[in-house]
Chain length 401, copies 2
């Protein structure tokens, strides 16, 4: 984590990377002004880690904020080093000529408070104790993230975002932006999200949390102090999440009932194992060595707690009456955790509140994860919408390259 | 476990229990002839625990076999003592005047091999070691249960069942009966079942098994020898199962986003907890003190392994060509683990194989669990079908009360 990498612009020119943002270097920003949290507690100071892609125009009118989901982070596009095997988590949609076109937009992507990728969170040192925050880190709500993101915008000199964009939990942040700071965004892009979780969604999250907290190595959340890590619990939690972010058809297409080992012939001495079993275990294990269990708990709670219209007497039309930006909503047919019905509820509320909204329901077998994956129609609609956002900037004479 | 309880018939006459089978006493049956298992291993001897309701007619033509599901057992109807708080798991559907009418039928319900309610299974003593079988108990396949059930039928003098009936994993046993012993059943009732699990179903089962086996108290399955019990893992496994056996709408109707403790007001010092969270934890905890973890693993594996048409070159029509009984299939609209589509596949295969089949798709918000719960239309269709089964017995002059 440092200031700009002098090699970044050179790497960017690689022809193989023509549509990539190239090499990127995360930046760290300290905030010393206390942050009042929704739970009533106050965070005295904190750090946010973020990346930017593209160039801010002189009018500061082409900035896009990317809000990440449950297990996401600031590294949304490009690579951290030339031999980095994996690009950022939304690299397919952010880059020169991509839907979020970095030749037109200045894109900001941060790791949220409570995260485990460099921003202040449960793995950070609690200044009052000198030990990791662990389970004492305050619970986060979506609005806390929005408030901390607004401070980052202030610091970057961005008075108004051209768009705030997020999928899933990120979409909840985008919607909250539209209600908390209606004048500070022109467009709100909400992908595969919901106004609130269903009881079933909360139930899956609770089961994942139980898997983590019932692992004896969880130590009441103080595993770092005790030099332990509840890997097994976190792996099971991730397996639960992973299944529910995919669709039945998607899993059937990818794995079916293919065997990895063993056979159903009598006397076969190898244990029968289906491909899907080893795939899931691999997913669980690799996640559990790269993500913080307390952060996973915190993020799932933020999801559970989010309820867009709670303080508007449960009336989403009243909630959206405050919004003055325009909306793009996207949902995927096979997404059963954040089903198209949940997006349609948002669309209906926006229409009744006389807010401009476009809605696309994308045919996909990939479940909730579809929002991260290549899909021609999704890409086309997303690109067309963002091109209009970019065109507005030019029309308003504020495009200043 | 003993022979008949002399008070049973008296208790049965209680007017409050007019439609109950009343007090029942499980019986134990030892089998000394070795049982060849599908995995290639041999079980030298074993015990089956079973209950019966109603009276076998002199023709022995009115017998019904009930096959239980994942966490079921032999106690399907009535009560074990007058102060027994809960009746058997299918009491709503078995009793005098109920769909499985014990004034007409002689009903047999057993605990399957590998179970943990009295039949030989992982908690039983392995005669070769003198210790509990634990993880060394042979893996069970549905056909092993069917073979052991056939031996119980032999012993009871039942050459042909009037019907073999089961829901979920029990439905798989009923279908296997129709292929393994086509002459030994006249009707096959398959409720909320499937010809094989999908990758998603296997994935949920695998995650449940991982929750159990990754609990340090699992001790590689030898927890009984070490005087441990992987309660936490089994509780998480049950929570996973429980969510998936209910529907999204069912959970929404029952719990919504109601809070049990705490509030979203700033400064509330109680942690926010939704009703669904405590409900699920209660379900997990109570299950984990009454069920054996190795049995849970064994039962979920039997589910995963079942593939009706595997040895018929994956052609279910060829598989059902062997069946000579008539079928009733039932599915529930909100059941997403064993969805109506899975039942329709069975119906289609039966029709193409020229086997007689009736099919009912029941409107219900209760998910997979609907097969256990009161539902007027389900009950009506089930009753009507079983009345025809009973009428046949009379028509054929074999009804001998």
């Amino acid at each position: 984590m440092s200031t700009e990498n002098p090699t970044a612009s050179r790497e960017c020119q690689n022809t193989a990377d023509a549509d990539s943002v190239g090499l990127v270097t995360p930046r760290k920003q300290e905030f010393t002004e206390p942050l009042q949290l929704a739970c009533g507690r106050v965070l005295q100071g904190y750090t946010l880690v973020y990346e930017t892609y593209g160039t801010l125009n002189t009018d500061r009118s082409n900035a896009i904020l990317i809000c990440h989901a449950l297990s996401g982070h600031h590294h949304a596009a490009g690579r951290h080093s030339p031999d980095d095997k994996r690009a950022g988590w939304w690299d397919h949609y952010i880059g020169p000529g991509k839907p979020i076109d970095t030749s037109k937009f200045f894109v900001v992507s941060l790791n949220n408070l409570g995260g485990c990728h460099g921003s202040t969170g449960p793995v950070s040192i609690n200044p009052t104790t000198g030990k990791p925050w662990g389970p004492d880190f305050p619970p986060m709500r979506v609005r806390d993230w929005v408030h901390s993101q607004a401070r980052l915008a202030d610091l970057l000199g961005i008075e108004q975002w051209a768009a705030v964009i997020g999928g899933s939990l990120g979409g909840m942040q985008a919607m909250r932006w539209a209600l908390e700071y209606p004048e500070r965004l022109r467009h709100c892009v909400v992908i595969a999200s919901a106004m609130k979780l269903s009881a079933q969604n909360i139930a899956f999250n609770e089961t994942a949390r139980q898997a983590i907290t019932s692992d004896p190595d969880f130590c009441g959340g103080r595993y770092l102090e005790r030099e332990k890590l509840p890997r097994r619990g976190l792996a099971v939690a991730r397996m639960i999440g992973h299944i529910t972010y995919l669709s039945d058809d998607g899993l059937a297409n990818k794995f079916g009932r293919e065997l990895r080992t063993g056979s159903f012939q009598p006397g076969s001495d190898e244990e029968v194992e289906f491909q899907i079993q080893s795939y899931l275990r691999y997913q669980g294990d690799s996640f559990s060595s790269s993500f913080d269990p307390n952060t996973y708990i915190l993020m799932t709670r933020a999801l559970d707690y989010f309820d867009l219209a709670r303080e508007y007497k449960d009336d989403p039309v009243a909630a959206f009456a405050n919004a003055s930006c325009r909306f793009l909503l996207v949902a995927f047919t096979s997404d059963w955790r954040f089903a198209p019905d949940r997006s349609r509820e948002i669309v209906n509320a926006l229409m009744h509140a006389n807010v401009s909204v476009s809605y696309a329901e994308i045919e996909s077998a990939m479940g909730h994860d579809a929002f991260l994956l290549p899909n021609e129609r999704y890409e086309g609609i997303f690109r067309a919408y963002m091109q209009r956002v970019a065109a507005e900037i030019i029309e308003e004479g504020r495009y200043a390259y």
